[in-house]
Symmetry: C2
Subunit: 293 residues, 2 copies
């Protein structure tokens, strides 16, 4: 089921880049990969946010829901949820069919970030500027648990007898549990806390399990909900994997030595776009606008 | 949807009991409530364990799956999962229809225990003897996350086209997310870490949200999967709530002053058994064997 990314990247180059990263300045590479200012992505992000705001209210007990509201909406942005909507539309589905799954994916991404930041303060030094901790670690741990649960709840509640979509939603739930669980995000985070990611051969593995897995899941789930064929699902899964790993690389590498980074990104970009060739060019225009040409 | 337990318990008595509890010795009250040695419960527990052992293997990467295996099978026993199977059988369902949900509930109960034990070591003093921590806090945090995800995966994968059970499974997923999330287990745990449970008026609230919610969920999910009517589901939910709160009380109160504890337990027992009167006596025999007569 899991897509495997076959890219010939020199791991030593990447490990070096990572260890010398300067997280306080935005990476130019990130900006070259994608444009969230593009009208298509802006509209998708706006709809996901509306859906989240409708469902995540500050209500009693405030001690529970205030931290959740804050942590959901202050999470670092991830293009994974938007990719879910774009994949659904690419295969002929309607945006509404994928919004709950996209919102669920944002919740899970945000919860994973919270739990990851609890693991070690040292490790945060090699990451993009960490979010300052507003709540106690205990509250953040429990809020993360609540957010994981609420993600699955949003998804399960999106069952609609008129759409007869129960089987698709169950399949999407399995996809998300695998992307977020011990074979996916958790596996990547394990390797990070064991510091294995400092070893170059594990660096790509961690990127594939974390950001790669999240984006692969987003694209595959959108495709499933939009009624895609198995081949379409797997192509979009690989597209998402490339996009996610690109984002991971570009968020972590330093600004200097951009030439090597650019090479890696270029290779991933080419692999990603190759997957889109399978689809009708006109239809793939929106999802391929992920990249600035 | 959520059942509300209306029992006239003197909260001051309970708060006093709790603060003076002696967690190192087993409570005689617990033993008076239920008998897991009863052949019916023993067979249910054995089947749930077999299902878990089939699905939770020690496999590569060992750094991920060894802690999960250990923490799933060393978790303190909870009757909640068994109640799920018993409720399914009571309403005419087959045991197989509820085993995956029961196993999922055990995973979630075990994950909640792990995360709760990470929150504060101080608080553990008022609890039953804490499990010694074998793994680092980071590994335990992530293993808990992996177990929550795997619980939902087991559940979603139990979809069976031959049984046409997708809608029931989605409903059960919503039940579990509510029992484990910010309106359930997490809410109870929040109140505990904020030490509100030391205030007598919050003590019953915490018991209802945690152990009460878990057992109410178990019984309601088993009923749903067994094809129960709405009235049967709600009666079994209230039965589970009473059983769970009884277990919480009896686990936390001290051995001395047993008379007051016995009164509370008696009242809850009577409420629980009242719910079972709705069902055919012969059919309810198994589930009512929860109590030693």
């Amino acid at each position: 089921m899991a897509a495997v990314l076959r890219v010939s990247i020199n791991p030593n180059v990447l490990a070096n880049k990572m260890s010398r990263s300067n997280p306080s300045r935005p990476s130019r590479t990130t900006m070259a990969i994608m444009s969230q200012d593009h009208p298509y992505w802006a509209s998708v992000h706006a709809e996901i946010e509306v859906h989240l705001k409708q469902h995540i209210l500050v209500r009693p007990p405030l001690s529970v829901f205030e931290p959740m509201h804050h942590l959901v909406f202050s999470a670092p942005p991830s293009p994974g949820p938007a990719l879910c909507v774009a994949a659904c539309e690419l295969v002929g589905g309607h945006r509404d069919q994928a919004i709950a799954a996209a919102a669920a994916l944002h919740l899970m991404h945000a919860a994973a970030v919270i739990h990851e930041q609890l693991l070690s303060t040292d490790r945060l030094k090699t990451k993009p500027k960490p979010r300052p901790m507003v709540h106690s670690p205990g509250i953040e741990l429990l809020t993360g648990d609540g957010m994981f649960a609420f993600g699955y709840e949003l998804l399960a509640k999106s069952m609609d007898p008129a759409q007869n979509n129960s089987d698709r939603i169950l399949r999407v739930i399995v996809e998300m549990t695998r992307a977020m669980g011990s074979q996916g995000m958790v596996d990547g985070q394990y390797h990070e806390i064991l510091m294995l990611c400092k070893q170059s051969r594990y660096y790509k593995y961690v990127c594939e399990k974390k950001e790669g897995g999240l984006h692969a899941c987003g694209a595959a789930c959108g495709a499933i909900l939009g009624g895609a064929s198995e081949e379409e699902i797997e192509r979009l899964r690989r597209y998402g994997l490339c996009v996610g790993v690109m984002i991971a690389f570009s968020n972590r590498v330093e600004e200097g030595n951009e030439m090597e980074t650019t090479e890696v990104v270029k290779e991933l970009r080419s692999l990603a776009l190759k997957e889109l060739e399978f689809f009708h060019e006109g239809k793939a225009e929106a999802i391929s606008s992920f990249f600035i040409s």
